[in-house]
């Protein structure tokens, strides 16, 4: 068990150090903009904990980020540069919504698992398309996953505007899901989705599957050296396709849980780029599921906290974008810095 702990510490040490350095540099910038940089920073990071409501909103942002990051980790470990998190998220959300709205008469005992499964399958299908194209025809997955994002986004816009639109509401939103299949709140935190528990448990499961099963070892072997994997008898093509099914499934689950636990309906363009931010979280965590818990939480804090910061000081919320850029820069520059050298 001690070995696991050390391994985990090692995995999160790098992102943690980069995050701290980013915050320090960001503070200097904020000091130029506002007279009260301490207040701005306090709000950016800690306003999330000022009230139960703020805390709930923060958790609601962390949930989809972490789930998408976990999916990305599966695909990247298999050597697939999957940038389709956004599309997979939307596919899951719309599938869950359509099932929930169309089959609203069913017993919640049937409807709830059906809606969740529908979301996962829709996301998985979206992962399967680029994986198969890649394996069978050698089509570059970056292009296909990126383009699928746009296709799905526009398709869901059409559905939410035309087919399942709630005409009594303002804006392009679907009808409400039956309240009987809403996810319950996190115990003790009103307004926070209990989906965060699912995401945290799945982070542990992801670690276990990737690093403690033969299947995970085969998947990582395929991702690090495909020709080696094939030579030692790993059905690498199958592993890669399965990894993308899982990755898409995670994105789809993020969408399903968003609709069931947070939005309770499909809203057009509901995601503030969770797909891309989730990808960033995964990369900053060095494609490690436990590290991704830390980076997702940090990002959720920043994205949510920026709103409070903007209200209380004159620092614009786009500071977050700037910090993101800094963070990415510092993470990639890390090997040259040679921290903690003996």
């Amino acid at each position: 068990m001690a070995g696991v702990l050390i391994g985990t510490l090692k995995a999160i040490r790098a992102p943690l150090a980069a995050i701290l350095l980013t915050l320090a540099l960001g503070f200097v910038l904020v000091a130029f903009i506002t007279d009260d940089p301490v207040q701005a920073y306090r709000d950016l990071l800690f306003a999330n904990f000022d009230s139960v409501g703020n805390f709930a909103l923060f958790l609601n942002r962390a949930t989809p980020l972490l789930l998408i990051a976990l999916g990305v980790i599966f695909s990247f470990r298999a050597g697939i540069f999957n940038v389709g998190g956004e599309g997979q998220l939307y596919a899951g959300a719309i599938a869950t919504t359509v099932i929930g709205v169309m089959l609203g008469g069913l017993s919640p005992l049937i409807l709830f698992p059906l809606a969740v499964a529908g979301g996962i399958l829709a996301g998985a299908f979206l992962g399967w398309i680029p994986a198969t194209l890649k394996i069978r025809l050698g089509v570059d997955e970056v292009v296909t996953t990126l383009m699928l994002n746009i296709i799905v986004l526009l398709f869901t816009s059409y559905l939410s505007n035309q087919v399942i639109r709630d005409t009594a509401s303002y804006g392009a939103v679907s009808q409400m899901l039956p309240a009987s299949i809403w996810l319950p709140d996190l115990p003790g935190v009103r307004g926070a989705t209990s989906g965060i528990i699912v995401a945290l448990v799945l982070a542990g499961v992801t670690w276990l599957v990737l690093f403690r099963t033969e299947w995970g070892a085969q998947l990582r072997a395929s991702g690090t050296n495909l020709r080696f994997a094939k030579s030692v008898g790993i059905p690498a093509d199958r592993r890669i396709i399965t990894a993308m099914l899982v990755a898409g499934g995670f994105g789809g689950l993020a969408g399903a849980l968003y609709v069931l636990g947070i939005g309770h309906r499909f809203e057009q363009n509901f995601s503030p780029d969770y797909g891309l931010v989730g990808l960033t979280c995964a990369l900053l965590a060095r494609v490690h599921p436990i590290g991704a818990v830390a980076t997702s939480i940090f990002y959720a804090m920043m994205i949510n906290g920026a709103a409070y910061m903007q209200i209380s000081t004159d620092v614009p919320r786009s500071l977050v974008d700037l910090l993101t850029g800094l963070l990415v820069l510092l993470m990639t520059a890390r090997p040259k810095l040679k921290w903690g050298r003996s």
């Binding site: 070995g3 276990l208 690093f211 403690r212 099963t213 033969e214 070892a217 990582r220 072997a221 690090t224 050296n225 020709r227 080696f228 994997a229 094939k230 030579s231 030692v232 008898g233 790993i234 059905p235 003996s342």
Partner: protein, 513 residues
């Protein structure tokens, strides 16, 4: 001895990387105009020592004297200014540029101090080629050159900047036997022009063929220095390994060996690539239980495809492959491995290992079920690491613990990992390609003994190698591949190196008896 007879003197050089001691204590003095071989096993510290001379690493202790003056060599540029030229094992050439452009890369001759003067560069390069008699075309793109020719470009790069002392790091590792002979000729030529050459190798035959003086390094210490003429290969080998070694082959047993039923049968197996070129041309071959069949040939005549077709990595267009009486022509790689095959690919970095994964995971890759490394669906990490530790000890993999990324090991130690992994399943058929490429004698001796033991246990072994000495030392029968065809399979007793050498060039020789 006059002090100026010595171009280079190293005293008590040591080098640590963190806690790891790469060099403990090296003394070395190199006479001007000599070919001085540094000999040692993989991981003995040869390359570290040379990198110190080339300015890539800094010594942790000790002094370097060049032409009688103490020097420090902080970087490669200083090294080249001091007249030290380094030719690395892996080339650093730009394939799309010409020979001349590569030689002057980064230090182009300028016209009006601004424009690259191609004509002047080509002229100077041609002059240089002429002077050292290198037989190269200064205007040929490097892309079109053979490995041996590329190496000569590397050597010219060093010579173009008046290197007095030329360091060649394992220069023969990438060469075919005829190219090695050519290189030895080139080195002789350089010596007669007054250059001093430090030549790193672990191949004893080359030591004798090329050098005036040999220094043996073992585990970071300089052990001994001999004039080459007065020392035997056996003595050098003993100093390298630290004990007596006997690189024995399979030899001829008193009574003829009895072989069992065919384990592998190929019948008219052909492989065509996507452009329609025939890579394997109707190859038929039986390998019986207890037999080692060696396949000789110049690289690129279909040996790689033969191995990959047998293992199932490439599709065959004609013929049948039978393993233990079962037709496996269309079976997948995992099915074939399951059915009793082991595969050691020729290039460990390409197919043999995942360099970013740990030693333990690389060793476990084909052994999870056989070695019992999983428990109720999960990998038993303690058991896996214990398995890895056993293999590391058994195969003497140096510088490795189970968690070490495989890419951090030296080439020879990586090779031991691959072989340890594949032999663990004790396969009925072992397909083993270039088993000792880049390995030192101690390791080669060990690998040979394991291959022979497998055959003695009744396993079939297909050995593919471009080292004729290896083929002759181990094989019961010898086949030669030329241009996709398996020309002839001779009994070892009836084969000789000259005849097989002719066959490798496509020539025909009269079969004895």
């Amino acid at each position: 001895m006059n002090e100026h007879d010595e171009i280079l003197t190293l005293s008590a050089i040591a080098k640590n990387f963190g806690d790891k001691v790469a060099l403990k204590h090296v003394d070395l003095s190199v006479r001007r105009g000599a070919v001085h071989v540094i000999c040692g096993e993989n991981g003995a510290g040869k390359s570290t020592l040379m990198n110190i001379l080339a300015g890539i690493h800094q010594p942790s202790a000790g002094t370097i004297q060049l032409n009688g003056r103490a020097v420090t060599i902080p970087d490669p540029i200083t090294a080249s200014r001091l007249g030290i030229g380094m030719v690395h094992q892996h080339f650093t050439l730009v394939p799309s540029m010409t020979v001349a452009e590569n030689i002057y890369l980064g230090r182009h001759i300028r016209k009006y101090g601004l424009f690259s003067d191609r004509k002047a560069m080509t002229g100077r390069a041609a002059e240089l080629i002429e002077r050292f008699n290198f037989r190269l075309d200064a205007e040929a793109p490097v892309r079109s050159l053979s490995v041996g020719q590329r190496q000569r470009v590397e050597i010219l790069k060093a010579l173009a900047f008046d290197a007095e002392l030329l360091i060649l790091d394992e220069p023969t590792a990438v060469l075919t036997p005829p190219e090695v002979d050519e290189l030895i000729g080139i080195i002789d030529g350089l010596r007669s022009r007054g250059r001093t050459i430090l030549f790193i190798t672990h191949k004893l035959r080359e030591v004798k063929a090329v050098s005036d003086v040999v220094t043996v390094i073992r585990r970071g210490e300089s052990i001994s220095t001999y004039p080459t003429a007065t020392v035997s290969e056996t003595d050098i080998a003993r100093d390298m390994v630290g004990r007596n070694v006997f690189l024995v082959g399979r030899g001829d047993s008193a009574e003829p060996r009895r072989f069992g039923a065919p384990v592998l049968s190929l019948d008219g197996v052909s492989v065509t690539n996507s452009t329609g070129r025939l890579l394997l041309d109707a190859v038929s071959l039986d390998i019986r239980a207890g037999e080692i069949v060696g396949i000789a040939g110049v690289d690129g005549n279909g040996q790689t495809e033969l191995a990959e077709a047998i293992v199932g990595l490439i599709e065959t267009q004609a013929g049948t492959i039978t393993l233990n009486g079962r037709d496996i022509t269309t079976a997948s790689v995992p099915e074939r491995l399951q059915a009793g095959m082991g595969f050691v690919p020729e290039d460990r970095l390409d197919r043999g290992l995942s360099i970013t994964m740990s030693v333990a995971e690389n060793l476990a890759a084909t052994n999870y079920s056989r070695a019992g490394l999983t428990r109720s669906g999960l990998v038993d990490v303690a058991r896996r690491d214990e398995f890895a530790s056993e293999k590391i000890a058994e195969f003497d993999v140096r510088g490795a613990v189970p968690a070490t990324p495989a890419g951090q090991l030296s080439g020879g130690n990586m090779q031991k990992l691959v072989i340890a992994r594949e032999l663990n399943r004790d396969p009925d058929l072992l397909v083993i390609c270039q088993p000792t490429r880049g390995l030192d004698i101690g390791a080669a001796e060990f690998i040979y003994s394991r291959m022979m033991a497998a055959a003695d246990r009744g396993r079939a072994v297909l050995l593919i190698s471009s080292e004729l000495s290896e083929i002759f030392a181990l094989s019961d029968r010898i086949g030669v591949m030329y241009s996709g065809q398996l020309l002839k399979v001779l009994d070892r007793k009836h084969a000789d190196e000259v005849g097989v050498g002719q066959l490798m060039n496509g020539g025909v020789t009269a079969e004895a008896a």
